[in-house]
């Protein structure tokens, strides 16, 4: 489209600036962490002043916020939701359950390491993270977007086979809930 390297740089800056200030978060709560989202979004902590808002459907959303533990049953739906989202898209892992299993580390039906299944841009640790921590995480994500380093979706497309192999190892080879997408 624009072949000149410097003009591309300027376009990127404008694009990233615009993306950074309108983060639509998909309203999909997986674990107990979803209870921290209403205070973050409403008047006391008011995340909307940073441009963070809720979105109703995956196709309108930019950020997939994984709020807490993921059971093997939920992770199938989450992967499907992620693949339905349109670019630009980012994933935030929220709470220690998404990082290393947290208090469900020996559970028989929750996954432990989220970044084996989906490309995670930012992790917010804590059990639970307070709304301040959530906003801090979002600001880190905005910084990353502005610097052009939030490239989880690109990474997912490039390493799709690795992610698919991991998903199928845990979710079973014949799982009907993951579609074979062909971008």
């Amino acid at each position: 489209m624009i072949n000149d390297k410097n003009s591309q740089k300027i376009v990127d800056i404008i694009q990233n600036f615009a993306r950074k200030h309108s983060l639509f978060v998909l309203a999909y709560g997986t674990g107990c962490g979803a209870i921290e989202i209403p205070p973050t979004m409403t008047s006391r902590y008011d995340a909307e002043r940073f441009g963070i808002r809720g979105a109703a459907t995956p196709r309108q959303a930019d950020v997939l916020l994984i709020t807490g533990y993921l059971t093997t049953k939920t992770v199938k739906r989450v992967i499907r939701v992620y693949e339905q989202m349109q670019d630009p898209k980012y994933v935030i892992g929220f709470g220690s359950c998404t990082i290393n299993g947290g208090m469900y580390w020996d559970s028989y039906n929750t996954i432990k390491v989220l970044d084996r299944y989906l490309p995670v841009d930012i992790y917010i640790n804590g059990c639970m993270p307070r709304p301040e921590a959530v906003i801090e995480g979002f600001i880190k994500l905005q910084k990353k977007i502005m610097e052009g380093r939030a490239e989880g979706a690109k990474h997912y497309k490039e390493n799709l086979e690795w992610y698919r192999a991991n998903q199928k190892k845990v979710l079973g080879p014949t799982t009907p809930h993951i579609q074979e997408y062909n971008w």
């Binding site: 299993g101 580390w105 559970s107 996954i111 390491v113 084996r116 979710l171």
Partner: protein
């Protein structure tokens, strides 16, 4: 209340002489009784139709691993008497089969599906989809006490390195303060 509870047990014992064990010394409105498993539909029908215990509160199960038994517990409640009756029965752990009771309360179907999936108890004549909560489960029923959930999680899921040396927090506190961990607490630590 105490008299009423005693009356209920007396009445039930008159109709069902098979009742093997009763318990009535709870401080609140609870009565326990134990009966053999093939009398369960009969006693539940009697409680519902004749005595007004028309609300099924819960069906649950206790795994007595050491005795080799499952204990299935039916809790019913009467809105008139305001008393809960716990009907208990023992099943053989190697062959846990009992009668289906969802013709008495339709909602029993859901509880029975859960017990079938989580403990492997077979209810004869239960008509329900095969899977309830778990999807593509291929191991032993997970709520049985001999199911090793940690070994299963290690085998099945990816783990982030760094958790291998995870130790009991009580151990750390005991070392810091110079206390000794009592034996009963050691039994449950990992």
């Amino acid at each position: 209340m105490e008299e009423k509870k005693a009356q209920i047990l007396e009445k039930l014992q008159k109709v069902f002489p098979e009742i093997s064990e009763t318990k009535n010394d709870f401080p609140y409105n609870r009565v326990d009784l134990r009966i053999e498993k093939n009398k369960i539909p009969a006693i539940l029908f009697y409680l519902k139709d004749e005595m007004g215990y028309k609300h099924l509160v819960h069906i649950t199960c206790v795994d007595w691993l050491e005795e080799g038994k499952f204990e299935v517990i039916f809790i019913v409640w009467s809105p008139v008497d305001k008393i809960k009756v716990f009907v208990k029965t023992f099943l053989d752990r190697n062959n846990p089969v009992m009668d289906n009771v969802d013709m008495i309360w339709r909602q029993a179907n859901t509880y029975e599906r859960e017990l079938r999936e989580m403990f492997g108890i077979q209810f004869e004549g239960l008509v329900a989809p095969k899977e309830f909560i778990l999807e593509d489960w291929d191991d032993m029923p997970p709520m049985r006490r001999d199911f090793d959930t940690e070994a299963y999680a290690r085998k099945r899921f990816f783990a982030r390195p760094g958790r291998e040396d995870a130790r009991d927090v009580r151990q750390t506190i005991a070392e810091r303060t110079g206390e000794e961990i009592p034996d009963f607490a050691k039994k449950y630590s990992r």
